[in-house]
């Protein structure tokens, strides 16, 4: 597993070697703040919790996380460094996991930098800090799901723009899988069991369950399996079209 640590450290450092990391973090924090205070009515609600903060995370991630994920493999493919990376004595799965974990750590750093809002809410009232921790975990899990999807789609193309757009679309569909917008497309023809299956894939439903402070094993499993399945798919896609 020495390879995993080495690739992970290289990847994480590479985010901070370019302006990308700083631009991302600043925009993430600005938007998170703007959504919470203006759209979410953080003060007007008069409640000491972070619901208005977490409620907007899925929409924030919908555009920001694919921007992080799009370069994961497409950039390696474009610059040719994929050939170097995948001819080192590493299993492809190790490289996939290491790159994913580095991207996830990077998003976690950005998320952790929202801590002033947690301090603020504790200063203003007496919130349920357990629920807030659950909210952060749910938010991180959802970011992980988006990243895993982005990783797979990034591996499928050498164009970062295509990877970005595909990831946004897939994430959007998965977010809303439990809502009429997506379900109506299935209801006309699919058996009810399939409609229910699609509905249960909804990222938003699972995220909202966690962000209310309920850490259900099913929701945790859902995110773990989403991440695992998309990373496995990433490995398959890489194996299939490494040299293209």
């Amino acid at each position: 597993m020495t390879g995993l640590g080495a690739v992970y450290r290289r990847e994480l450092a590479s985010y901070f070697a370019t302006p990308l990391a700083y631009v991302f973090i600043v925009i993430f924090l600005l938007l998170a703040g703007a959504f919470t205070f203006w759209l979410g009515g953080f003060y007007e609600r008069g409640q000491a919790d972070l619901a208005p903060f977490f409620n907007f995370h899925p929409w924030l991630y919908l555009f920001l996380v694919p921007a992080v994920a799009m370069r994961l493999w497409a950039e390696e493919r474009r610059s040719g460094s994929i050939e170097l990376l995948l001819t080192l004595p590493l299993r492809p799965a190790t490289a996939v996991a290491a790159k994913f974990l580095a991207a996830w750590t990077f998003v976690a750093i950005a998320l952790a930098l929202t801590f002033p809002i947690w301090i603020t809410v504790n200063y203003l009232g007496a919130p349920d800090n357990g629920a807030i921790v659950a909210g952060y975990l749910g938010s991180l899990a959802m970011a992980g799901g988006f990243l895993a999807i982005g990783s797979c789609l990034s591996a499928a193309t050498r164009s970062q723009v295509i990877a970005f757009i595909l990831t946004v679309v897939v994430c959007f569909v998965l977010l809303l899988a439990g809502y009429p917008l997506v379900l109506d497309a299935f209801r006309g023809w699919a058996p009810p069991a399939l409609v229910d299956a699609v509905a249960s894939l909804s990222l938003l439903t699972h995220f909202q369950a966690i962000s209310k402070g309920v850490l259900d094993l099913r929701d945790c499993l859902y995110f773990a399996m989403t991440i695992g399945a998309w990373l496995y798919a990433t490995t398959l896609v890489l194996e299939l079209r490494k040299a293209d």
Partner: protein, 313 residues
């Protein structure tokens, strides 16, 4: 040691490599020649484990690249075409990363890093980002990465492409210096390189093996092998000299240079022409600037072999 056995690789309908077999042993430097698109890089990518073969097999030090990919890759140092790297990294960070992935540690790691930095003269650029380096330094960083773990087998895809003549000379010297005990394959389309470094050369075109010989044996296939070229002092003597040479036994044809007073007498197989040509020209009182025995022209052999293959359906 590298063993390639009946290797083939197809991309959809396109056959990149077809039924290619060769072995390279320790101490050999194999030059892998062929026109662009002949399947050189594809073959090297299969050996490096980057792409899987469609048929046949390849093994590095006895480890099959498909069944034992990690063992094969540990024994191999590989420079991909164009020497890719991560542009935002410094050579120090880059080589440190390779050392970590390859599991080099402690004193051994430090010694190997010092060794490759010294050999490739990377000290002045260690802390500059790779994207700001010249092409020559980028190539050297790629080479450093390939030899960092002191592998018994090296596969270098166009190691001197894009370098200036001095840098080419340095890289060739480096390859020769590392050669004892190692198995080295370099691909190139620069034929002088074959002379300069290789102990053996194979020529491929359209994915098929067309020749596998020592450089000298390849040259002997040239129609210029054993030919004698005379550069005359005066162009006025050309016709007379050509007539003299054409009469000599063992001369199959006399070629004239288009822009210089120069004649080349082509030799029949096995004929020794130098002395007879010198004597004939002296008897005819033809004043000479230079008289030269040709060993054969590799570029001509290369063209003959590969264009014949291209012409086939």
């Amino acid at each position: 040691m590298i063993e390639v056995n009946a290797l083939s690789k197809r991309f959809g309908d396109v056959v990149a490599v077809e039924d290619l077999s060769f072995r390279v042993g320790a101490g050999e430097i194999l030059g892998f020649l062929g026109p662009n698109g002949a399947g050189k890089s594809t073959t090297m990518r299969v050996i490096a484990g980057f792409i899987a073969p469609s048929g046949g097999s390849a093994a590095v030090c006895g480890h099959d690249v498909v069944r034992e990919p990690l063992a094969a890759r540990r024994a191999l140092g590989y420079l991909p075409e164009g020497a890719p790297a991560w542009p935002e990294m410094t050579p120090r960070g880059f080589l440190g990363f390779i050392a970590d992935v390859r599991g080099l540690a402690g004193e051994h790691r430090r010694r190997r890093l010092d060794d490759v930095v010294g050999r490739l003269g990377l000290a002045p650029v260690l802390d500059r980002s790779i994207e700001t380096l010249s092409k020559g330094f980028k190539r050297r960083v790629g080479l450093a990465q390939a030899i960092l773990h002191d592998p018994p087998v090296l596969v270098l895809d166009e190691p001197t492409d894009g370098l200036d003549p001095n840098q080419k000379h340095e890289v060739r010297a480096l390859i020769r210096e590392m050669a004892p005990g190692k198995t080295i394959v370099i691909s190139t389309h620069i034929l002088e390189e074959v002379h300069a470094v290789c102990t053996r050369a194979i020529i491929v075109a359209r994915g098929r093996l067309l020749a596998d010989e020592r450089p000298a044996a390849l040259e002997a296939r040239s129609r210029y092998h054993g030919a004698v070229t005379a550069t005359l002092a005066a162009a006025a003597d050309l016709d007379r000299a050509a007539a003299l040479l054409a009469e000599l036994p063992g001369v199959t044809a006399v070629e004239r240079s288009a822009d210089e007073p120069r004649l080349t007498a082509l030799a029949a197989p096995g004929a020794a022409l130098f002395d007879p040509v010198a004597a004939a020209l002296e008897r005819g009182h033809v004043a000479l600037h230079e008289l030269r025995l040709e060993t054969g022209r590799l570029d001509e052999v290369f063209r003959t072999i590969t264009t014949a293959a291209e012409a086939q359906p």
